[in-house]
């Protein structure tokens, strides 16, 4: 959710290496990154920070997973891929390699999924994978609203 952005970022890992001159930190081994409701797990994460404090993060591993609460709803968005690149300026996360994103009950699968944590919109593509893989999207129908207010005068549901 949007409030996550202003929360501190907590990172824990087996080992860490901070390069003060370049502003690059590499975390390795059971990496967990938490920011508000966002939680990411990876084998390795590289966090770069520019002079203005903006950060880009690349997480890799057998499987990078993340989970974040949706804004204003009690629903979660979950994703997994071989690699995840995130930019705190654009608020865009790019999942690459066996990428899956589940939002509520909707699910998309592809080689590359670009997810905007600000607009909560995502775009899925087969990416440059050699076998020209296909994308899959499973969109659950909205539950029918059977309340009286929703019914037309002729008694049928809209």
């Amino acid at each position: 959710e949007k409030a996550d952005r202003d929360k501190p970022i907590e990172i824990s890992a087996d080992r860490g290496n901070l390069d003060q001159l370049k502003g690059v930190t590499v975390w390795q081994g059971n990496v967990i990154i938490i920011q508000g409701t966002l939680k990411l797990n990876a084998d390795r994460a590289t966090v770069s920070q520019d002079k203005q404090g903006n950060q880009t993060m690349q997480a890799t591993g057998r499987q990078v997973t993340f989970r974040q609460k949706m804004d204003g709803k009690n629903d979660w968005i979950e994703g997994q891929a071989n690699q995840l690149d995130y930019n705190t300026v654009t608020h865009v996360a790019v999942l690459t390699g066996n990428a899956r994103v589940k939002r509520g009950n909707d699910l998309v699968i592809g080689n590359v999924i670009t997810y905007n944590t600000e607009t909560e919109m995502y775009e899925v593509s087969s990416g440059a994978s050699s076998n020209g893989g296909r994308v899959t999207a499973i969109i659950q129908p909205k539950p029918r609203d059977n309340s009286p207010a929703a019914k037309k005068p002729d008694g049928n549901a809209p």
Binding site: P8, E10, I11, S12, G16, Q20, T25, W27
Partner: protein
């Protein structure tokens, strides 16, 4: 006559021998050399400030301590509440403040064996870095600080901890050896 004739060489040998022993003893005798107790300090100084300058005459290292002492025939000096300051081109690069420690003048290694804080002052483009641990070794030649103990560090508003670290001050590299945690705050 004959007897004295034979006695003289014997006497001569005896006297020469005595003279040799006497000279040996005298040459070893040092007027103020007394056997010092190796477990008792030979030198004790209170309120110490030692300063070292680089070839260009600029401040390179300063060591301030409440008390310093040294044991006989040892190259290590021991300190109470030491503050080891390292300068680069006359500007303070970092300093380490501890409860106690020792410094080996031959290896140029400092060991802070109790609580110690390493501070790298803020610069134009870097915030102050503080590293706090229960002990720390500092190589004052290669400017490397390290510990195997639980260590906490603070960088601006961000903070973190790890068990074991190696900090290469000149390269600006801080390695967290295990159980690394950090909280970034803007």
């Amino acid at each position: 006559m004959i007897r004295s004739h034979r006695l003289f060489p014997i006497l001569l040998i005896l006297i020469t021998g005595l003279l040799t022993v006497w000279l040996d003893v005298v040459s070893r005798w040092q007027p103020n050399k007394r056997d010092l107790d190796p477990n008792k300090p030979e030198v004790v100084a209170d309120g110490v400030m030692a300063t070292r300058f680089d070839p260009k005459g600029m401040l390179q290292e300063k060591l301030i301590a409440g008390r310093m002492w040294q044991y006989p025939d040892r190259t290590e000096s021991y300190f109470e509440s030491p503050d080891l300051q390292s300068y680069k081109n006359g500007v303070l690069a970092y300093h380490a403040i501890g409860e106690s420690g020792r410094y080996n003048s031959k290896t140029k290694q400092a060991l802070f064996d109790k609580k110690v804080t390493l501070i790298q002052p803020a610069t134009a483009n870097q915030q102050e870095t503080r590293v706090i641990s229960s002990n720390m070794r500092i190589d004052t030649i290669r400017h490397i600080a390290q510990s195997e103990a639980l260590t906490h560090f603070y960088y601006g508003k961000s903070s973190g901890s790890a068990v074991g670290f190696i900090y290469q001050q000149q390269a600006g590299q801080l390695q967290l050896l295990s159980n690394a945690k950090v909280t970034y705050e803007k």
